[in-house]
Symmetry: C2
Subunit: 249 residues, 2 copies
Amino acid sequence: MNSLLKNIRIVCVRPLYGGNIGSICRAMRNTGLEQLTLVNPNPDLDQIELRKMAMRSLPVYEQRVVVNTLEEAVGDCGAVAMTSGVDGFYRGHSVSPRECAPDLLDLARSKPVAVVFGPEDKGMGLEELEQATHLLRIPSHPDYPSLNLSQAAMLCCHELYLASGEYEAPQEQTDPADHRQRERMFDCWRDSLTDIGFCPEEKMDHMMRGVRRILSRGTLTENDVKILMGIARQTSWAAKHPLAEPDSD
Amino acid sequence: MNSLLKNIRIVCVRPLYGGNIGSICRAMRNTGLEQLTLVNPNPDLDQIELRKMAMRSLPVYEQRVVVNTLEEAVGDCGAVAMTSGVDGFYRGHSVSPRECAPDLLDLARSKPVAVVFGPEDKGMGLEELEQATHLLRIPSHPDYPSLNLSQAAMLCCHELYLASGEYEAPQEQTDPADHRQRERMFDCWRDSLTDIGFCPEEKMDHMMRGVRRILSRGTLTENDVKILMGIARQTSWAAKHPLAEPDSD
C-alpha cells in the first residue's frame, strides 16, 4: 500500500518569506510528505533564502502547486485542518496536532487531506478558518505563544509522521541478556571484588547489592554482559598475576 | 513551586548560523525555557538574521552564557541529553525526545539538565557523544533524516513543555449538553421535519436516525444544543407563518 503521508497536502496561504518555505520543504522531506501548495504567495519570495533552508529538499518546492485561492488549494480535500493561531472565536474548539493526527491520516485513506498554515504576520482570517474541518492549536507557552511558521509546520508534520507508524526506531544490536547470563556475570564480579580485596567477606553481600543496583538500572544486553564479565575476569586474573613487581619501598 | 522547565538548559555546540540561534531562542520562549548556553559559537554569527528570527524572544539570547568547552557548559548538570544525529555507533542506544522528556524533567528536580545540539554541518563528535547520559534521536524519514538545527531544537523543547504538564488546553466555552437537553432538541427537529413536510411519517424514524448520526459525531455542548433547537423551532414557526404568499403559478 502507498503511504498515507503521500495524501497529506501542506498548504501555505500568502506566505511572505522564502526562508520559511524552504524550511517547510525540509520539514516535509524529514517526515515523508510531498504535496506542497502555495496560495497567492509573495511574488518576491526570497529564492536565495529558500534554497539555503531547503537544502536537499528542493524537489518538494519544485513540485509545488501555486493557486490564487484557498478554495482551489483544498477543493478536493476530505479534511481541511487549519492552524488557528492563539486568539479568537474558534480557540475553544481547537485540538492539538497530536490529538488529531490519527484522525487526519485515517481520512487520508479516501481523499487528500490539507493542513493549512496562514501568513507569517497575521495568521488565517476568520472567513478562512470557518472552512476548516479541524482547527489545530499547537500547545505553547502563554508568555509567547506565537510560533514561527516553519516551526509550526514541523510540529504538525512530525505528528503526522509519528502517527503514520512508518518510523522504525533503531534497535539494540543484541538481545537482552537472560537471567542466567546476568547471574553468571554478577558471580564473576563478586569473585573479582574478593580477588582485589575490595571489602571484607562479611560485607560482600551488602556491596554486591550496590553493584546489582547500579548495573540493573537499564536493560543489560548480551553484549553488555559480555563486556562486564570480561572486565571482572580480567580483574581477577590481573590480581593474581601482577604485571610488575611492586616497588620495594 | 518553580517550573522544572527553568532548570532545563539548551546547549548549542559550535553553532554557525545566527538565524538558527534566533529560531532556537523563539522556540525556547514558545515552550517556557530560559537557559541558553553557547559553546564556542561562530564569532561571525549573523546578528541581523538572529534578531529577525528571535522576534520577541531576544531576551533569551541576551541572557545567554558563552563558554569554550562542552565540559564548562554541562559540568553542573545532573543529566546531559545529546542529539545523536543519524549515523554512528550510538544509534542503537538512542531514545526519542518524547520517550525521554519525562525522565529529563524528573532529573531537573535536583540539578540542571542539559539538552545539547551539535553544529549545523557535522553534528556532535563521538568524543562528545560519549559524555551523554541520554542519547536523543528524533524520528525522521530515512530518505532525508537530517533536520535543521532549530527544528530539532523545537521538537525537543516542545516535548519537554508537553511533558511538564504546564500547558492548559483551551476549554470549550460551555459544558457538554446532557441527555435530556439532547433528546429535547431531537424532538424539536422531528417536529420541524414534520412541519416542513420533509418526509412521510412512516419514514420519519429512519430519517431521525440519520439526523442523530450526523449530529452525534462530536460532543454537543449546551450552546450547540441551543443553536440546533432554535433552528428547529424557527423552522416550525416559519412553516406555519409563511413570510410571503407563494407565487400564484
